[in-house]
């Protein structure tokens, strides 16, 4: 009985040592691969400005949708935007994109600066463009619908 107790004690000790050894294992510091920025989905405008003036409450943006899906984009309930027709899109760098290019079907590619911050735990997409006069600059901040 006493031996069994000793063996149990030994086992217990070995488990403890094993755990401690495991905890001392050096952490892998291999560079993590930056996740590809996946912007596919339905996006809706949550903030819009024109030359710095807030338009969010002055115009109904609630129905406008920008949808990205497998290299293509589509617009629903259109509003002034970088492009007027549906087409293809591309990011300049899928890991660290800072530019997005829209190519409307039958049109020329147009690019714009693109930021992709996480605000309050949610991805946002911020695009600036001039659909009318070049001096009038708009910024739309999008958030994914249903998130």
């Amino acid at each position: 009985m006493k031996n069994i107790y000793k063996i149990k004690k030994l086992h217990f000790l070995m488990v403890i040592i094993g755990l401690m050894a495991a905890s001392c294992k050096t952490e892998s510091v291999l560079p993590q691969k930056e996740a590809l920025k996946d912007i596919s989905g339905n996006w809706q405008v949550i903030k819009a400005t024109r030359n710095g003036t807030d338009l969010t409450t002055k115009v109904d943006f609630t129905q406008f949708r920008l949808k990205f899906d497998a290299g293509n984009y589509s617009l629903l309930n259109k509003l002034p935007f970088l492009v007027e027709k549906d087409g293809a899109f591309a990011l300049d760098d899928p890991e660290y994109p800072y530019k997005i290019t829209f190519t409307a079907s039958g049109g020329q590619p147009v690019s714009t600066a693109f930021t992709y911050p996480i605000v309050n735990g949610k991805r946002q997409l911020s695009l600036s463009f001039s659909p009318g006069c070049a001096n009038n600059t708009y910024v739309y901040v999008f958030q994914k619908v249903g998130e």
Binding site: R50, T53, P80, G132, N135, N136
Partner: protein, 332 residues
């Protein structure tokens, strides 16, 4: 305790007098003493403007270049259409556009033009479609107490945008070493706005920067694919609509292929919302392409409009008349 300060009454007065005199003499850096300019001109003509200046050069420092800023409509393209020369006791010379890379010392990283706009705004004008065009002298001067009085001669080609215009031209001078600052030696700048200047003979709309307008469209320059914000200001003058709190837009678009599209209904689409409970300003922001339901391939070149009451029978047009307000869609 024994005092080491011995000032007799007479000496005290002398010290005080010297301090006061010093302050008076030290007062003020660059000053605009007057501006001579015509009161009217025709579109595309070149006008002569003389800015009289006085620089006491109090204090020490420099050498600094003199800076001149002229406030004018953006559409005049002031940088291309203005030349400035000067005559001074230190010699004559020219002033040229300050390059955008040459930032003012105390401008917090802004360009000279932006620094002027931030400090002096629109200097009494009401439409934010103006710019300060900055010039600097080819020669510099030191601040050593030598008073410099001189004249800046400006030749300005007005109305490059072809618009008839009413505008208060503004002027400011300072020096590159100080900018829009003051210290013990005085104030190193001087700003002067002139009465309303009129440009006539143009083919474009009248752009009135001077007088409050019944309606204002923001941005001042836009196309049918912009969002435009139209504001009716009921405070400017009493109109047949005074007392109504439900106002609507009644507008007609003219397209590039000579068609007209009228939207004159009293619905949510055309309703102008009061900006705040008692502002008496009514506003509607819309996308002209959608508002007039313009098909692809057509563009709107011009819009005529009235503001109406809920029944649509009482309407107010340009200058509180029954002629419509006119807005041309263009970028220049």
């Amino acid at each position: 305790m024994r005092s080491y300060l011995h000032i007799k009454g007479k000496n005290l007065w002398m010290i005080c007098a010297c301090v006061v005199l010093g302050v008076v003499l030290a007062c003020c850096g660059e000053i605009i003493t007057g501006v001579d300019q015509p009161s009217t001109a025709t579109v595309g003509s070149t006008i002569d403007i003389t800015v009289h200046i006085d620089i006491p050069t109090v204090g020490d420092g420099g050498p600094d270049n003199l800076i001149l800023g002229i406030l004018m409509p953006k559409g005049w393209k002031g940088a291309q259409n203005t030349t400035v020369t000067y005559k001074s006791p230190l010699g004559d010379g020219t002033m040229s556009i300050v390059p955008e890379s040459s930032l003012p010392k105390n401008g917090g990283g802004l360009t000279w033009s932006a620094y002027m706009k931030k400090t002096f705004g629109l200097a009494g004008n009401l439409i934010d479609d103006m710019e300060w065009v900055p010039f600097q002298t080819d020669k510099a001067y030191t601040h050593n107490g030598t008073e410099i009085t001189g004249d800046l001669h400006v030749k300005l080609k007005v109305g490059a945008d072809g618009n008839n215009t009413l505008v208060k031209l503004g002027y400011v001078i300072t020096d590159t070493g100080n900018g829009f600052t003051s210290d013990g030696n005085g104030t190193y700048y001087s700003q002067l706005s002139t009465p309303c200047f009129e440009v006539t003979g143009g083919t474009g709309d009248l752009v009135d920067f001077c007088n409050p307008q019944l309606t204002i469209i923001d941005p001042p320059k836009s196309l049918d694919n912009d969002f435009v914000t139209l504001t009716f200001d009921g405070n400017v003058v009493a109109t047949p609509l005074t007392g109504n709190t439900e106002l609507y837009l009644c507008a007609t678009a003219y397209t590039s292929d000579n068609k007209t599209i009228e939207v004159c209904e009293q619905t949510e689409k055309t309703k102008m919302a009061q900006t705040s409970a008692t502002s008496n300003k009514y506003q509607l922001t819309f996308w002209p392409k959608e508002f007039f339901n313009v098909p692809d391939g057509q563009t709107i070149v011009k819009m005529e409009y009235f503001v109406t009451d809920k029944t649509g029978t009482t309407k107010v047009g340009y200058g509180n008349t029954l002629s419509p307000f006119v807005y041309t869609f263009k970028c220049e």
